[in-house]
């Protein structure tokens, strides 16, 4: 009972701190990451003291947010695109880790550390913070810029590099320690260990390819909403567990699974389901980082820690900037790249605690190191702000904008979204595609999605009425949203959601009939297309032709009829809530329409279209002539 109330109290403190600090930080233009970090510092043991030493446990738990984040990053990255990034990942990533570690190693030696300790610290500090960098890049919309892509490549390489780093640390141990990295396979001989690692990766790939999508399809068909989120979590958790068993990075494993699922029709749905969980866990993680900052230690030797932190940032920044230069980043992108990755990251905490177990470094060194990591992470959002507010405005590098836009297209942020991919939607889709307009298609019928995918359309499974889903389908970047859904209630909900969250999106709405259309007019829609109108008129026009009418006349009559009918619809919409005026208006309208048609046929001499009629011309000209 005590533990439970403790849990509730903790949750209350964490959530309250986040709810208060994050909006304020965002309002001040500091970004959510800094908000969470500040919240953590406030409730941490050194300021208000709401939470004590358990901060570290929370951090381990919250690290799962990073795992989910990597899964989501993977979902955004199709295998072909990852393959295109291979040079960046190996080239930029490896040079960053090696050169930075070497430089910090040198500094460590100069400061009088023994070489084993200096090397361990160097490896810990060379890595950057995936959590902070990716979250901030995403928030600022820089993920697809060149600087963002390179940052991502480096972070990915660092995730891979953690594995050999953790493997070689025991070799640096000054004194004998019992086996520290406890995995299922650590007792096996080296060859079998390697085999197990490859086997685990193969399992992830095969399961992702052949088992996950059919299962998702089955779940989608069952239409039990929460099961989908359950499945999404199951994918992430089980892969994380598998990776842990073989001693690989869980983040790396889920990233791989994400990449494999990036091409599937469930991508947007998975994103929508996991995004809030990821956000919250990451928030928790940042709070924990904030809470872990040891202000007492900093207060004891403020100048030492401040100058070391500053030195770290400068060393990492300079090396990153030079690498960016070598790999031909434009100046403005290079600044983004170097500022983004200049901090040390959460892997630093992991490595330091491992080093403590191994007894490679002194406790003092490790405490200072941990403080530097936390401080540099906290400063990162500020560095982003400096870059954004002070540096970038001075580098009006026009080319960067173009590049960002180009990347956008590749990553399927289409200007047009079509909800509902039945016969109606697919006809629009085929027409647009034939004219070089690519659209994003969403449908909530798993069988239909499956079928259409076979024709080469990228249809995504999902519920278009959910705001979070619309976001991951790219509603924020789209211009036009076409709904071909037939269920009125779904459409009303959709329109409400779109109006609320994406008021600038142009909605083009399929309406079943006149009454359906009235509802949409009431909701303020401007582009309404009645199912029953155009085709019926076309049939009517063809009937007239079969009965002997001239083709062009029949066509004109049809166009006029449609125009009159549309006008009538808009005018009647105003009256429809008052049944008396509605019916009298409607009768008047029908009369008008018939008059119009008569006039076109020339039956009503009073209304005759005078344009090409000789009788009236005779009156005007002919009589005088002869």
């Amino acid at each position: 009972m005590a533990a439970e109330s403790n849990f509730l109290l903790q949750s209350t403190v964490f959530l309250a701190a986040a709810v208060i600090c994050v909006p304020i930080a965002k309002r001040l233009g500091l970004g959510s990451v800094l908000g969470y970090l500040i919240a953590g510092m406030l409730i941490g043991p050194f300021v208000i003291g709401f939470i004590g030493e358990e901060g570290e446990d929370i951090m381990h738990f919250a690290e799962f947010g990073v795992v989910i984040m990597l899964f989501l990053v993977g979902l955004e990255l199709e295998p072909e695109k990852l393959w295109r990034l291979r040079k960046q990942i190996l080239g930029v990533g490896m040079s960053q880790v090696l050169i930075t570690a070497t430089a910090i190693f040198g500094v460590g030696l100069l400061l009088g550390l023994i070489w084993q300790s200096a090397l361990a610290v160097a490896l810990a500090l060379a890595l950057s913070s995936t959590a902070i960098v990716l979250q901030t890049l995403n928030e600022k919309g820089l993920m697809r810029s060149e600087g963002g892509q390179n940052s991502f490549s480096v972070l990915l390489f660092q995730d891979i590099a953690v594995i050999p780093i953790l493997a070689i640390l025991p070799l640096l141990a000054v004194r004998e320690v019992s086996n520290a990295s406890e995995t299922l396979i650590s007792d096996l001989p080296m060859g079998l260990q390697t085999l197990a690692v490859f086997l685990a990766v193969a399992i992830v790939i095969l399961v992702g390819r052949f088992l996950v999508v059919p299962t998702l399809r089955m779940i989608a068909r069952s239409r039990v909403r929460e099961l989908f989120m359950g499945m999404a979590l199951l994918i992430v958790v089980s892969i994380a567990y598998l990776m842990q068993l073989v001693g690989l990075s869980a983040a790396l494993g889920t990233f791989l699974a994400g990449v494999i699922l990036a091409n599937s029709e469930y991508r947007h749905e998975l994103e929508a389901d996991l995004e809030p969980i990821k956000g919250l866990l990451l928030g928790l993680f940042f709070i924990a980082v904030g809470a872990s900052i040891d202000f007492k230690l900093i207060a004891d030797s403020p100048i030492l820690i401040a100058s070391l932190t500053f030195a770290l940032l400068v060393i990492k920044f300079v090396i990153l900037f030079v690498i960016g230069k070598v790999f031909k980043l434009s100046v403005s992108q290079n600044f983004t790249f170097a500022f983004a990755l200049a901090q040390a990251g959460e892997f630093g905490f992991v490595i330091f605690s491992f080093v403590r177990q191994l007894g490679i470094s002194t406790n003092e060194t490790l405490s200072i190191g941990t403080a530097i990591v936390a401080l540099s992470m906290t400063i990162t959002p500020l560095l982003f702000i400096i870059n954004e507010k002070l540096i970038q405005p001075r580098l009006c590098d026009g080319s960067t904008d173009d590049r960002e836009r180009e990347m956008d297209v590749v990553d399927e942020h289409n200007k047009v979204i079509i909800a509902g991919f039945g016969h109606f939607g697919s006809t629009i889709g085929r027409f647009l595609r034939a004219n070089g307009v690519e659209a994003t298609y969403i449908d909530n019928d798993p069988d239909q999605v499956n079928l259409i995918r076979k024709f080469g359309f990228k249809v995504y499974y999902g519920d278009a009425t959910r705001p979070d889903y619309l976001l991951s389908a790219g509603a924020a970047n789209a211009d036009i949203f076409i709904s071909t859904l037939t269920d009125p209630d779904e459409n009303y909900q959709l329109v409400e959601t779109l109006n609320k969250f994406y008021p600038n999106l142009k909605i083009m709405m399929r309406a079943q009939n006149r009454y359906d259309a009235y509802e949409f007019i009431d909701m303020g829609l401007e582009h309404i297309y009645r199912d029953s109108l155009d085709t019926s008129i076309r049939v009517g026009v063809d009937v007239l032709r079969k009965l002997g009418a001239r083709a062009y006349t029949a066509r004109r009559v049809g166009l006029n009829f449609r125009k009159a009918d549309e006008t009538a619809m808009w005018e009647l919409a105003e009256h429809r809530h008052d049944s008396d005026t509605y019916f009298s208006e409607a009768r008047a309208r029908i009369q008008y329409q018939e008059d119009l048609m008569k006039r076109e046929r020339g039956e009503d001499t009073e209304l005759v279209d005078h344009a090409w009629d000789s009788e009236s011309l005779v009156k005007g000209f002919g009589a005088g002539e002869n």
Binding site: R550, A551, T553, S614, V618, G622, E625, N626
Partner: protein
């Protein structure tokens, strides 16, 4: 036997006494193609390749239309704009229509006197036809003076019959190859050759 293509453009044939009667007199022969543009393209979506193939297969082309606002109805203009392509009908390598004969067959509400300097239309029919004539010239075609049925406002049954029969006779003469081309070119109206 010369092959004749009648490109007929009338947006409201059902209310035209004269043209309904005129097209009845077009001889139903294998070498004469009557092509009703408004019936074929009510949506103005002219099939360029098909039209080009028709042109290729005929030696004589007639733009048959009412004379609206000193010009043709819009679909015929659309036909000219779309079909007579650069590099095919004119310009570099554009010789597909070279030496083919072309003229307008028109109906006008006002009578002949209206189309002169003193008349209320001020200019002659031939002057109004200049855009068509120059279009033909640019396409290296031989442009003939128009066949014109004038004063349709006040035409009575018998006059209409006579005009229609003349049209039929003209088409026969053209079809048989009996036309004196040089003489035809010197006339004000093609009607005079009959």
């Amino acid at each position: 036997m010369h092959k004749i293509l009648v490109l007929f453009a009338h947006p409201r044939l059902e209310s035209s006494r004269i043209n309904t009667r005129l097209i009845k007199e077009i001889p139903q022969q294998e070498n004469i193609t009557f092509h009703d543009l408004y019936e074929t393209y009510p949506e103005f979506n002219v099939d360029i390749e098909f039209e080009k193939s028709l042109l290729k297969r005929h030696e004589i082309v007639i733009w048959h239309h009412p004379f609206y606002w000193y010009s043709s109805p819009p679909l015929l203009k659309q036909w000219i704009d779309m079909v007579l392509e650069y590099g095919w009908a004119y310009g570099a390598g554009g010789e597909a229509l070279k030496d083919k004969i072309i003229f307008n067959a028109i109906t006008t509400g006002g009578n002949e006197e209206a189309y002169c300097e003193q008349g209320y239309n001020k200019y002659s029919i031939r002057q109004f036809m200049q855009p068509f004539e120059q279009t033909a010239n640019l396409c290296l075609m031989q442009y003939l003076p128009p066949f014109a049925v004038m004063g349709t406002h006040n035409m009575k049954g018998e006059q209409i019959d006579r005009a229609a029969l003349n049209y039929g006779r003209l088409l026969k003469v053209l079809s048989n190859g009996d036309l004196d081309l040089e003489k035809a070119k010197s006339l004000r109206y093609l009607n005079e050759i009959l």
